[in-house]
């Protein structure tokens, strides 16, 4: 009796089928906890061939582009007509030079880019430089083949800007980081986070209405003025091609 041991095959863990059920149960618990993420991802892969195709996407993008172009042309005509009535400066988009960025110092102390077009190509000191997104800076120096641009983020840069919503003029001063400061010399100036900032129509340095950036944060601790940090629309650290607008404002 002492040497015998009870060997039973009737225990549930000795059956393969039970383990299978247990595995399915665990899988369902996992599905429940993950809120069906597994299924959604699985669906993503199996439904991929049936998504709206590239062709359809192109048609939609083309239609949107055409719509935007028509709207832009209408607004442009309106703008020119109204500027003529108000005797304001005209922006001149026709006289621009396309240039590549050949040296870039966008972090640290020095914030400048060097372009592959110089005085030989008609670039003049003071010309406005724009890139995808909007204003980048102004040409500060030219050589025969290159031109150096002071970026808006440079502590040397000071420009008159226009807050579009509240229609007030301010001064944009580079602060040595990627977010220049907008200074408004009035404590009661009406600005909000998200306001759009463009070049000032009153500025004698820049053509009017060039997009610059969006107000990111406002500092109201100063007594006599209001300052705000601006998030620039054009990112000089990634832009390879820019446009130099000739100075004839």
């Amino acid at each position: 009796m002492l040497g015998t041991r009870r060997i039973s095959t009737s225990r549930w863990w000795h059956k393969k089928k039970n383990w299978l059920f247990f595995a399915i149960f665990l899988f369902l618990v996992f599905v429940r906890i993950s809120k069906g993420a597994f299924y959604k991802d699985f669906y993503y892969f199996i439904s991929k061939p049936f998504w709206p195709g590239q062709f359809q996407k192109e048609i939609i993008i083309k239609s949107i582009d055409q719509e935007s172009l028509i709207k832009l042309n209408l607004l442009k005509k309106d703008n020119i007509r109204l500027r003529e009535i108000l005797s304001l400066q005209q922006s001149s988009d026709n006289d621009s030079i396309l240039a590549a960025v050949i040296s870039r110092k966008t972090g640290g102390w020095w914030r400048q880019i060097i372009l592959n077009k110089g005085s030989k190509d008609g670039v003049e000191i003071g010309s406005t430089v724009t890139g995808p997104g909007g204003l980048l800076g102004r040409v500060n120096n030219t050589s025969l083949f290159t031109s150096s641009v002071t970026l808006l983020t440079s502590p040397e840069s000071k420009l008159g800007v226009w807050v579009d919503r509240s229609q007030i003029n301010g001064l944009l001063v580079g602060s040595g980081d990627n977010y220049p400061n907008l200074i408004l010399y009035s404590k009661d100036a009406d600005i909000k986070v998200g306001d759009f900032v463009s070049s000032s129509p009153a500025s004698s340095l820049l053509p009017p209405n060039i997009p610059i950036g969006i107000i990111q944060s406002i500092d109201e601790t100063l007594q006599s003025k209001k300052t705000a940090k601006i998030s620039l629309l054009a990112k000089p650290q990634v832009i390879d091609w820019v446009q130099i607008l000739k100075v004839n404002i």
């Binding site: 972090g107 640290g108 102390w109 400048q112 500060n140 040397e156």
Partner: protein, 160 residues
């Protein structure tokens, strides 16, 4: 001859080599071995030359790199050559970090002095960030570059 390549390296400024958008302070990599071999007066003089060239490449007319580079050139000239290669390697990193800190601080002081106003603290914060990033990167790359340049200068000196 290698002097000519410093402004090129300074302008090169590749994004992938940067840290927080800041690059190593290239002129110190050349100035340290040069001053160590040729002495304080020579280092001071070439610090001035480097400062003049680099100032002409940057558009900031109000601030200058010359004071920092002159001081570094002079101090680097007083450092004795170390016979132990490994200690030497680490020493280059530390010395260049110190030099970069010195140059950065002098530059920041100029900016703060020039833009002395209520919003000074904003410039101070970004300036300190620049200095720290530059010190780290310069110290990191110095052992690789300085020892090679030192070997090159020694070799060319023996030749003449």
């Amino acid at each position: 001859m290698s002097f000519v390549f410093i402004p090129i390296a300074f302008l090169w400024h590749p994004n992938w080599l940067g840290f927080l958008g800041v690059q190593p302070y290239w002129p110190l990599f050349w100035l340290l071995p040069w001053s160590m071999i040729n002495g304080s007066i020579n280092g001071l003089l070439f610090g001035l030359f480097l400062g003049l060239i680099l100032d002409s490449l940057t558009l900031d007319n109000n601030f200058s790199q010359i004071p920092g580079l002159i001081l570094c050139g002079f101090l680097f000239g007083r450092i004795k050559l170390q016979s132990d290669i490994l200690v030497g390697h680490f020493r280059y990193g530390l010395i260049c970090s110190f030099g970069s800190f010195l140059c950065g601080t002098l530059y920041l002081l100029q900016i703060l002095f020039r833009n002395f106003s209520e919003s000074n603290s904003l410039m101070f914060i970004s300036g300190v960030k620049n200095i720290l990033a530059e010190v780290f990167l310069t110290g990191f790359f110095a052992p690789f570059i300085c020892s090679q340049l030192l070997r090159m200068f020694k070799f060319s000196r023996k030749k003449f």
